[in-house]
């Protein structure tokens, strides 16, 4: 991967980040309701005072200048203050972010571990019974909304079988192996909900990617050299087929974040998804804006990672 390609991709990410911030800000600016609306209608406050307050907070400036002001503040790390949690928005988000990333990461790992073998097996025996079962299960998997799977799992594992806790606890006091065991136990269900939903669509991606590669000439060549079928698939087919899958996984990230918000809400995981919901319910605008922006940044970041991985896996890309 050439350095030029790397720099070019990084430069392309900047306008999309700016664009996203523009979209977010225009949504905020278009929204009805003015932080000082009450002052204007309150007869006890003289209009001069209200006007002075508006001028002080720059509310009468043109939209673009307010946008620039907001953008520079965001870049300088000044994300505002959460009145509900009584702390700075960036500290609050940084506190919650690791939990979300760990859950999402574990779920992605589970999805890949489940989907990869199933997708490859299904594609190497197209239209067989196994393929049809896998395909149907994949359809069921991504038609089951995460909130319903979550409730089903809680009903089965927490209420009927009483194996797993259904509320995620942040304050486990145990240490050592006991701590690890408790953490694993409470993470199983959220990770399963997200991972299986993600894995279901991944199975279809892997299957069609492998099907595309299996017919290529170089695979026939490999096979005709007398390499065993297993080796052909693992060494020759899968490696090429995974290249487009990497991009598709990254393009799925917005959906994954949506699923993460729901999962965090169901299992009460203290991540940024549940933070978003609770601040919406508490009318905590700076936190809502901050979390949404973090989600947007994460999506751009994952797209960037996918681009780099893509170029690393397929050197032809970087020269285009």
């Amino acid at each position: 991967m050439s350095r030029q390609y790397l720099i070019r991709r990084l430069l392309i990410a900047i306008p999309s980040l700016l664009g996203i911030s523009l979209v977010l800000y225009s949504v905020l600016a278009l929204a009805p309701g003015d932080p000082f609306g009450e002052l204007a209608t309150n007869p006890a406050i003289p209009p001069e005072v209200a006007a002075a307050l508006r001028a002080k907070f720059g509310l009468d400036d043109p939209v673009w200048s307010r946008y620039l002001h907001w953008l520079t503040a965001m870049f300088q790390g000044d994300w505002g203050f959460s009145f509900v949690s009584r702390m700075n928005v960036d500290t609050l988000i940084l506190q919650r972010l690791p939990t979300t990333l760990i859950v999402i990461g574990a779920a992605q790992l589970l999805a890949i571990v489940v989907a990869l073998p199933i997708g490859v097996l299904a594609a190497t025996r197209p239209y067989s019974v196994f393929d049809q079962i896998a395909n149907t299960l994949a359809f069921i998997g991504f038609s089951l909304p995460t909130f319903f799977t979550g409730l089903l799992l809680i009903l089965l594992f927490s209420i009927k079988l009483d194996w797993l806790p259904f509320v995620f606890r942040d304050d486990i006091t145990a240490t050592g192996l006991q701590w690890l065991w408790e953490e694993t136990k409470q993470s199983i269900m959220p990770v399963m909900v997200l991972g299986l939903f993600q894995g279901a669509s991944l199975v279809r991606f892997v299957r069609s990617a492998v099907l595309d590669v299996v017919r290529l000439d170089y695979v026939t060549t490999a096979r005709s050299k007398g390499i065993g079928e297993r080796k052909v698939v693992v060494r020759h087919v899968v490696r090429t087929a995974l290249i487009p899958v990497v991009t598709l996984v990254a393009l799925q990230m917005p959906i994954v974040f949506g699923g993460a918000i729901v999962t965090e809400q169901i299992f009460r995981i203290p991540g940024i998804g549940s933070l978003l919901i609770s601040s919406i319910l508490a009318n905590d605008t700076p936190v809502v804006m901050g979390v949404t922006f973090v989600f947007a940044c994460l999506v751009v970041l994952f797209n960037l990672i996918a681009d780099f991985l893509y170029a690393w896996l397929d050197p032809r890309i970087a020269f285009r």
Partner: protein, 317 residues
């Protein structure tokens, strides 16, 4: 990919000659052919029957099952399925079946309307980008890429958070939320359709039949609407079908998070939201709406899969 479908053989085109096939079969039309192909997909046909049943149930069910959705009866609260209440009752003793039938109207129509919004915007943007190459095309496609990388659910929540009250006061609690959810969900899902339409236009606009129309003096508008779009219809229909399922899930998710419709409008997601705290004593209350959402989404996805096979003429069936 559907984007590169060759022009001449698209299944939904109104005036495909298909002379060779017509010679063998006396009755032949693109619609019939698509139907013949669709019937091959057993699961899709079964799904179509199930979905039709659900639509009929929510459309006419409330006329047959005349239990009011808000009749409170504490004597019968949290009951499991009985003859009087086939789907059981909720914590206020309200009949779950009646609520699901009524709420299903909203859940399903949100899906349909959001898809129409997405398809309309998508076709408009795609056609505009495809016909006007150059700067406009570049900007529109950059916009589509930008929207694709927006985190949808957080943005959806943000918009609802900011605009909820204004729309409520303008159109009433039910209408306001309905309009907002439809527009927002539709407005965040137009990108695939736009890309499809643009790709089709780029490949079709240089084809001979469009050139012939151009030579005859057809305006750009007429070229697109009359000659190009009918050929791009197949993939758009497939994308639209899948959008309906996605919109139903999006609405249910919002309602499930408590940020969709108000409590007196029992959409399926909303019922699930109310039921989730009683999972241990009244699991039936959550199972029925969940199953309804699942069944609707699954059957729409299967229908989409069947349509994909049926409307892609290059696929041999």
């Amino acid at each position: 990919m559907p984007g590169s479908t060759p022009a001449s053989l698209s299944a939904e085109a109104p005036a495909v000659p298909a002379a060779a096939a017509a010679a063998k079969k006396p009755r032949f039309s693109p619609g019939l052919e698509a139907w013949r192909r669709f019937r091959r997909h057993k699961l899709a046909v079964a799904s179509a029957v199930i979905l039709l049943g659900m639509i009929l149930a929510v459309a006419f069910g409330p006329l047959v099952w005349r239990v009011p959705i808000n009749e409170i009866d504490f004597a019968a609260k949290l009951e499991g399925p009985t003859l009087a209440h086939p789907f059981g009752t909720d914590d206020l003793g309200q009949d779950v079946l009646a609520r699901l039938l009524y709420g299903g109207r909203i859940s399903l129509s949100v899906g349909l309307c959001a898809m129409l919004v997405a398809a309309f915007v998508g076709v408009l943007v795609g056609a505009l980008a495809g016909m006007s190459r150059g700067t406009v095309d570049a900007i529109l496609m950059w916009l589509a890429d930008l929207f694709l990388s927006l985190p949808q659910l957080p943005l959806l929540l943000l918009v609802i958070y900011l605009f909820r009250d204004a729309l409520k006061s303008a159109f009433g609690p039910e209408g306001g939320v309905f309009i907002m959810i439809v527009i927002v969900i539709g407005g965040l899902r137009w990108m695939p359709v736009a890309r499809l339409v643009r790709a089709q236009i780029l490949s079709l606009r240089e084809k001979e039949f469009v050139e012939a129309a151009r030579a005859l003096g057809a305006s750009k508008m007429r070229q697109v609407v009359r000659h190009i779009l009918p050929n791009a219809l197949g993939p758009v229909i497939v994308a639209g079908t899948i959008d309906v399922a996605a919109a139903i899930i999006a609405e249910s998710t919002l309602s499930f998070l408590g940020l969709g419709f108000p409590p007196d409008i029992p959409t399926w997601g909303r019922v699930l939201f109310d039921a989730k705290d009683y999972l241990d004593i009244a699991p039936h209350w959550a199972m029925f709406p969940g199953a309804a959402i699942f069944l609707a989404v699954l059957s729409i996805n299967f229908i989409g899969d069947g349509l994909r096979d049926a409307l892609d003429p290059r696929r041999v069936l």
